[in-house]
């Protein structure tokens, strides 16, 4: 995409220069657009829908990426069974954990060494909109695990009491699923779990997880194996040393991955959505470009005599070309502005998507940032250039003798 703009840059530069230096005033094009209100508005409308979809797809992509990227701290690492890409398919036993907990490289705070043994299960929850249910990640963790996720803030209630069947849930999931209100209960693993706290995951992957006490969770599910361990080291540099230590200990046979790496890998989860989104956008874009082209060809055809007259008066070919290119650009930018406004309607909407690696739900919010709005406008500009080029060229080649043709 960036390459496309780079190729178009000289053309765009010429166009901007033309707007200032060429004699055909831009108001002529703007008014001509409104001369043909119906066709202008319907074309701009079609373009606006494409631009809106383009912006929303980008925002979805960004939302997903942010969910994973903001989840990791560079001085923390996740310990997994080798070759398990996600925690869900990893196992750690108690002996392995006992050895990890004695590592001198671990950082600690007032509550003790910063290591959390964790267990991850997937649980199906009823959606709030009545549209069936979706898989949700339930994470069992230790109190240290909560302290180590520094981007997570408690909004209401309190954190978990070790050993009890309690859960804390992200605010972002509350609107999307049933029965997650403070004090409400959910049944799973043969027990009833009460919501005692609500947290904000700051747009991270934890906004899609329900947290419970790890011991209580393993008892309920009668599990003896943990899924993973989260550790914090003294500094970012020590992550490598810790990995080396784990690697060299024959009793462990575990893999250490830095937390940012682990979550960066998870952004691949958005891949299928991204590919589908791009495909739809490309198809719609081609359609919109042809719509713009068609409208511009019709405009040029109906103004043959007018264009011939301008040429007779002394306006030159490239001046006519620039003028009609501007008209196409205005037409598409009008669609661009409408499209961005349309996409703003999605701003802040909470939604979910399926993580195709864990097949569980990822909650995130659409954020239509100024950057995305700019991209949407640039995109409409691109459509104007692509769709307006040929009609503008044709306009510039209209024979001057057309001016003299009697009606």
């Amino acid at each position: 995409m960036a390459l496309l703009y780079l190729i178009l840059a000289p053309y765009l530069a010429w166009l901007v220069w033309a707007a200032f230096r060429y004699p055909v005033p831009l108001s002529y094009n703007w008014r001509s657009l409104w001369q043909r209100k119906v066709s202008t508005l319907s074309t701009a409308g079609a373009i606006s829908v494409v631009v809106a979809i383009f912006v929303v797809v980008l925002s979805l992509d960004q939302g997903l990426s942010r969910a994973f990227v903001s989840s990791g701290r560079s001085d923390q690492a996740i310990v997994l069974r080798p070759n398990s890409r996600v925690e869900l398919s990893s196992t750690l036993d108690r002996d392995q954990l006992r050895i990890l907990k004695t590592s001198p490289l671990l950082a600690s705070d007032a509550g003790g060494p910063l290591i959390s043994s964790e267990c991850v299960v997937v649980r199906s929850l009823e959606k709030a909109d009545g549209d069936g249910s979706a898989n949700v990640t339930v994470r069992g963790l230790e109190p240290a695990g909560i302290r180590m996720r520094s981007q997570v803030r408690l909004l209401e209630g309190r954190w978990l009491t070790p050993g009890l069947n309690e859960m804390v849930v992200p605010r972002r999931m509350q609107g999307r699923f049933m029965g997650l209100g403070l004090g409400q209960k959910q049944d799973f693993g043969g027990r009833s779990w009460q919501v005692v706290g609500v947290f904000d995951g700051g747009g991270s992957a934890f906004d899609s997880e329900i947290w419970v006490d790890v011991v209580a969770l393993m008892q309920a599910y009668r599990r003896t194996m943990f899924s993973s361990a989260l550790v914090r080291l003294g500094s970012e540099k020590q992550v490598g040393g810790f990995a080396q230590m784990v690697d060299q200990d024959k009793r462990l046979k575990l893999e250490v991955r830095s937390e940012p790496d682990y979550y960066a890998d998870q952004t691949k989860a958005g891949q299928p959505i991204r590919i589908l989104g791009n495909l739809i956008t490309v198809i719609l874009t081609v359609g919109a470009i042809f719509a713009a082209m068609n409208t511009m060809y019709a405009t040029v055809a109906s103004r043959t005599q007018e264009i011939g007259t301008l040429r007779a008066l002394g306006f030159r070919q490239h001046e006519i070309m620039a003028s009609f290119q501007w008209e196409a650009t205005m037409l598409c930018s009008l669609g661009g502005v409408l499209g961005v406004l349309l996409s703003l309607g999605f701003n802040g909407i909470q939604t979910g998507a399926t993580n195709f690696q864990t097949f569980s739900d990822v909650s995130f919010a659409f954020l239509i940032t100024p950057g995305l709005m700019f991209k949407g406008l640039a995109f409409s500009l691109f459509m104007g250039l692509a769709g307006g080029g040929l009609p503008a060229y044709r306009a510039s080649r209209i024979p001057l003798t057309e001016a003299m043709k009697g009606g």
């Binding site: 004699p23 002529y28 007259t309 030159r316 001057l400 003798t401 009697g406 009606g407």
Partner: protein, 232 residues
């Protein structure tokens, strides 16, 4: 009134080609028109009047012969040079007025001046002067659709003279007008010739209109038939 020739055509020819078939329209036209002349170009429909006018005005190119207008040999000019030449030397008046519908009378008249380095204020002065000359000062801010046919053609005349060109070309300027409006336009053009010294070449098949010119050139099947001096 008649001075040096402003238009000099030697063996001027124009053919159209349709699938390698030559369709000759003008065949060896020799003609000299002196500066300050007012010529009506007459002849039956299809005789090549518009074609000849287009060549003189530099909006079409001959397939043979030489063409010298307003001191320039047009054969040798490229498209951009020809465009610059037109905007300097030629004013156009069309049968259908050819005003730009989205521009006001003022803006339409201003169009040719946008091609000059003139300042905005200088342009305004010139446009107001031209519109005053055709008696449309009051209608400056009106759009073509708000004007009558006669008024539209007067705006077109103002547009033709605003850049002070030496030569005015008109193709059936009264063809779309009723008798009264046609008379007004004819009187206006006569004034442009008499008072401002503009050389005018006007295509018409209306004998009444042709009578306003000083000379009548008759074209018959692509060759000049005869030139008559009009007695008034």
């Amino acid at each position: 009134m008649s001075g040096e020739p402003i238009i000099r055509l030697r063996g001027l020819a124009k053919s159209y080609y349709r699938e390698s078939l030559e369709i000759p329209v003008l065949q060896g036209i020799d003609l000299e028109i002196p500066a300050g002349g007012y010529y009506a170009l007459m002849g039956p429909s299809g005789s090549g009047k518009t074609t000849l006018l287009n060549l003189i005005a530099g909006i079409d190119r001959p397939t043979g012969g030489e063409l010298e207008v307003c001191g320039h040999t047009l054969n040798g000019l490229d498209d951009d040079e020809l465009a610059a030449w037109r905007s300097t030397y030629v004013g156009f008046i069309f049968q259908n007025y050819n005003l730009v519908p989205v521009l006001t009378a003022f803006e339409n008249v201003e169009l040719p001046l946008l091609l000059t380095p003139m300042s905005r204020r200088a342009r305004r002065e010139k446009v107001e002067e031209a519109l005053a000359h055709v008696g449309l000062t009051e209608w400056m801010e009106h759009y073509p659709r708000q004007l009558s046919g006669g008024q539209e053609q007067r705006v077109a005349v103002a547009r033709a003279i605003v850049g002070d060109p030496e030569l005015l070309v008109a193709d059936e300027p009264t063809g779309a007008l009723d008798h009264k409006n046609a008379e007004e336009i004819m009187a206006l053009m006569e004034g442009l010739n008499r008072d401002l010294g503009k050389t005018i070449v006007m295509v018409t098949h209306d004998p009444k209109a042709a009578h306003h010119a000083r000379h009548q050139i008759h074209l018959e099947k692509g060759v000049l038939d005869r030139t008559i001096e009009v007695n008034r």
